[in-house]
Amino acid sequence: MNVPKKLLYTKEHEWIKVNGDRGHVGITDYAQHHLGDIVFVELPELDEEVAQGESMGVIESVKAVATLFSPVSGRILEVNEELEEAPELLNEDPYGNWIAIVEITEQSELDDLISADEYKSYCETLE
């Protein structure tokens, strides 16, 4: 299982790559593997305000429907529209294909997220 060091994670299997007040958000390798073939992505809307831990989108595989939870509160700056046409990119490269960019309004919320090592240990408890 691939868990890049430089990212922060949630126990709901999202990752965020923080760059100042901007965060790229996606789903983890563990998430894509367990969902199986991803066939549909419902992206958040541009400029939408999202709250930490609340739904910001939906990922559907052949068998399952999964909610994408926002790792932080903020405003949606960009969405990866390519995923609407090619949702399988999330299976092929879950860290290379971000889903949305969030303007991080509460930097302190980043403390609620877990490190790569913590996330990896957490996933092992799920197996």
């Binding site: 199986g36 073939d37 066939v39 549909f40 419902e42 939906v58 559907e60 595989s61 052949v62 068998k63 429907v65 609407e84």
Partner: protein, 368 residues
């Protein structure tokens, strides 16, 4: 209650199957390195091997066996010949469905019913309650393992393992004694995928051996296939799934299975209700639909027109063959005309869809 394992469980571990609890059975939903879409396409293009040992087998034996089976099922049992297989719903007096099953006729005094795994105990009780004199029913499920080999390459693969010319087993017929790699098996040309193929019944002790023989003979033309692709394959071929297209509250006529209801065949259970339903006209029925808006329809999603409920999705998913979402819905009759626009309620939002006809999968049949 502990989970049950089929005799092929070691094979699922060997092929790195992702094991799930399927109605009390530990079975693979998909295999590592494959996944539902790859497995699905494998069956459409080459061949796939399924463990369906969880299916139930009930024998009906005795002088009055033919009458007994006819009492149970809606299709015409008397029209069957020895070694023929017939698909049929089995109904309650209300016309709702107890189960759908395959009837194997050895002769008029000896039948084998193959029923859905999750319904086996319920079906067996139902049969016992309705038993007529001169017949014995027994639940033989633990005495059979069952493998399904499905896909355009299925016959070529199985032919490598037997001297019997498989062309002698026609669609929906069986041979009770086919020697496969030295093991006696019951083989029928039946399946649940919309492809040509076989279902192979063998004693549990020999199941692993037969599995490995088929994998060996098929080489790159065959893969193990999990329950995920079994569902997507049957769905694309519009084959009903108990609990979705049919259940105790849905009649075979509503589910579009009227072809398997022979009202003149005999006085089967549910006949009166089905005759009445036919005379009065259906109030709802199963239709195909395609999505106009974005989203994937799923089983049990509500369907609305102008904000009013008109039915529900029985099955829906992303179709790997057509590469888009399609669905089946049970709708009030006034919305069933092809071309009618409906709203599928996905996460509380209406998403536009259209009633269709003939958009599901039909294999390119080679006549047998």
């Amino acid at each position: 209650m502990s989970l049950k394992r089929t005799p092929l469980y070691p094979m699922h571990l060997k092929h790195n199957g992702k094991i799930i609890d399927f109605g009390g059975w530990e079975l693979p939903v998909q295999y590592e390195g494959m996944g539902i879409i790859k497995e699905h396409n494998m069956v459409r293009e080459k061949a796939g091997l399924f463990d369906v040992s969880h299916m139930g087998e009930i024998t009906i034996i005795g002088e009055q066996a033919e009458q007994m089976v006819q009492k149970l099922v809606t299709n015409d049992v008397k029209s069957m010949q020895d070694f023929q297989v017939m698909y049929s719903p089995m109904c309650y007096p209300s016309g709702g469905v107890v189960d759908d099953l395959l009837v194997y006729r050895y002769d008029s005094k000896n039948y084998l019913l193959v029923v859905n795994a999750a319904n086996t105990d319920k079906d067996y009780e139902w049969i016992q309650q309705n038993l007529i004199p001169g017949v014995e029913a027994s639940n033989r499920s633990s005495e059979y393992a069952q493998l399904a080999l499905q896909g355009p390459a299925a016959q070529d693969i199985l032919q490598k393992l037997t001297t019997l010319d498989l062309n002698t087993i026609r669609f929906f017929w069986f041979n009770p004694q086919v020697n496969i790699s030295g093991v006696d098996c019951l083989v029928s040309r039946t399946g649940y995928t919309g492809e040509d193929g076989f279902e192979i019944y063998v004693e549990p002790q020999q199941a692993e051996f037969i599995w490995e023989e088929i994998i060996r003979a098929g080489q790159e033309l065959v893969s193990p296939i999990g329950l995920g692709a079994r569902d997507s394959l049957r769905f694309e071929a519009k084959l009903p799934l108990y609990g979705q297209e049919i259940d105790q509250d849905i009649t075979p006529l509503e589910a579009g299975l009227g072809f398997f209801v022979k009202l003149e065949a005999g006085d089967f259970i549910g006949r009166t209700a089905l005759i009445q339903q036919k005379q009065e006209g259906l109030k709802r029925k199963l239709v195909e639909f395609s999505m106009l808006g974005k989203g994937i329809p799923r089983s049990h999603y509500e369907v609305e027109v102008d904000g009013m409920p008109v039915g529900h999705v029985s099955s829906g998913m992303y179709s790997p063959t057509f590469k888009k979402p399609i669905g089946l819905a049970l709708l009030n009759i006034e919305h069933c005309e092809p071309g009618s626009e409906i709203d599928i309620i996905i996460r509380n939002q209406p998403v536009k869809a259209r009633v269709e006809k003939g958009i599901f999968y039909r294999k390119k049949t080679k006549s047998k």
